[in-house]
Symmetry: C2
């Protein structure tokens, strides 16, 4: 079990990015998924992420990294937030997490950081805390550690983590080495993965000592490491913004999965601890329905069923259609068969092609 002292040097980093195009028209470039209360809980996905982490560490050890467009909205949603990193432009997750690691590590050389997406849903805080506690123990030993979510079925919507030999880390008896990370599989492969017991879902959570992460980065992405080091060195100085603006645009645009997790796993430097909680990345409207999003109460169903969200409060009637998802906003309307939920991104692509940037 995790002792509270175990988390004394733990910092949480929340990269808040990604529009969530498969949740159009609810989610927009100007109103991304993480800012939305998608499950009707009264808290946005970002706020839920904050609550989950603030249960483990004080507010001053929670850091958010985001783009300039969303900084104000985030600060408004998270009034207790004291550490907001604002990226001049989106360079994917590695520069975002790397910057936070470099700045936090400079101030706290023994810091262990955990990175958590801003737009996922997790149920069962006790299991989540248990997993993070174990991950911090393993990370302290020098491994980059991820949380492998125990699959509830052979999903083809998520990437998987293949576990290898059991590690002997005190305080993390279930930790294993990571053999490999695999992309979203087809249905047969997913079924085989789940049956084997050796695969878990990749929820994109990474827990690591800052010096370990930056060491891997120096070796695997030296240009990126050099740029981040330069920015971090200027962070407390008056020229912070100048250095950031001059350096950031040239940083390699790469996800932490490709920059660190996959190559380090092959070197034997990645560990996985089990996450026994309910988790979803709410990637599309089918997932949104699965996490319990409710239809607008005024909806009229006649020989029909599914999910109907009326954001502008008007009455929706659905007749003779099963497994349909209807989303009405004041400026747009989506009607999608549940089994085509992934294709909603094609609508956003088409709107961009037509120059309807006002709608995306």
């Amino acid at each position: 079990m995790t002792s509270p002292e175990n988390l004394d040097s733990f910092h949480a980093v929340i990269p808040a990015g990604g529009a969530g195009t498969r949740l159009w028209p609810l989610s927009r470039a100007s109103r991304p998924k993480f800012l939305l209360d998608l499950d009707g809980s009264g808290r946005s996905l970002l706020q839920q992420t904050w609550d989950r982490l603030n249960d483990l560490v004080p507010a001053e050890r929670i850091h958010v990294v985001t783009g300039a467009a969303h900084a104000a909205a985030i600060q408004e949603q998270l009034p207790e937030l004291t550490s907001l990193f604002v990226e001049p432009s989106p360079r994917d997750s590695m520069p975002a997490i790397g910057l936070a690691a470099a700045v936090i590590g400079a101030a706290h050389p023994d810091a262990i950081i955990g990175s958590f997406a801003a737009d996922h849903i997790i149920d069962d805080q006790v299991s989540f805390a248990e997993a993070i506690g174990q991950a911090v123990c393993v990370a302290r030993s020098g491994l980059v550690t991820t949380v492998g979510i125990t699959p509830t079925g052979p999903s083809t919507a998520f990437g998987y983590i293949q576990s290898g030999e059991r590690l002997a880390v005190e305080g993390a008896e279930s930790a294993c080495a990571v053999t490999s990370f695999v992309e979203k599989p087809d249905a047969a492969t997913a079924t085989a993965y789940v049956a084997s017991g050796a695969y878990s879902w990749n929820g994109g959570m990474f827990v690591t000592r800052t010096d370990v992460l930056l060491g891997h980065l120096a070796r695997l992405q030296p240009g990126l490491h050099e740029g981040l080091s330069r920015i971090a060195a200027a962070w407390a100085a008056p020229e912070r913004q100048d250095v950031l603006d001059a350096t950031w645009p040239a940083l390699t645009k790469i996800a932490i999965d490709h920059a660190i997790a996959e190559p380090v796993a092959l070197e034997g430097g990645m560990a996985v601890v089990p996450g026994e909680f309910t988790w979803d990345d709410v990637g599309d409207f089918a997932a949104l329905q699965d996490v319990g999003a409710a239809s607008s109460p005024e909806t009229i169903w006649v020989d029909a069923g599914g999910l109907a969200i009326s954001e502008d409060g008007t009455t929706i009637a659905v007749v003779g259609l099963d497994d349909v998802i209807v989303v009405r906003t004041d400026d747009a309307l989506l009607v999608v068969a549940r089994d085509h939920a992934q294709q909603v991104k094609s609508v956003v692509a088409e709107l961009k092609r037509r120059g309807r940037d006002d709608l995306v």
Copy 2:
């Protein structure tokens, strides 16, 4: 062929009623189907009906019967209209047509009236004129005459007219006696009807001498006849409105089909002439699609097809659904499988049950 003189004593009557609940949310109690430009022609169904009849008779011989709620809108849509009968309350089609017959007959004892629904679509004006010309010839001989529309397929959405023996009426060589009127059949029966060649669609058009109609009414619905006679006698007098208000509410509420057409057919007093034109009563959204209603041009279809009408101009996206009909207004939204188009009336019933009179 019809000679123009044949129509010299012909008056057209348009009963304009019926909300068209299966076309909700386009059609509303306050904005009934006949006032709508449903096919994108630029003219409402009522205006199209007017145009079709005004091609045969001058404006002063076209009469509209409607409820008080729609009188102003009708007068606005039909600026040339000089004869508008305003019913104090809806009593179905027989009192409406009977009142017009009594008033017209009093002024023009030789008048032949034809009654035409305000909310049907007809293509091919030449064939329509030919059918009406024949019907007037037959009606002059003393038969109540209907137009039997040549079926284009075994529709289960319409009533049918069973033709009997050929009549020998000069100017109407194709006229037959009506054996019976039959309600909307099931698919097998409809197929047998169409295969037999003896059945045509009932488009609700009735052409008759006023004295013949009123004579049948006196015999079959004496109370109704008596009430209508009392109103007609006061029509040109100052007490018209008082008599109308006192008499109208007690009139039998009945359709002309049940009051006259069906019983008179059994007596051998009904005739049918063929209508070779394209006709539709646009009874539901499937019919609306069939008559060529177009989707809003901004609609985005991804692996999908059907009809999408955005009355408020917002963009509709449909993904992964075939044969779906989507109708968005500023205050409501309908999503219906094409093969469930008839069930839209259940939505209106449910809205009434919930007290949402603002939406019906």
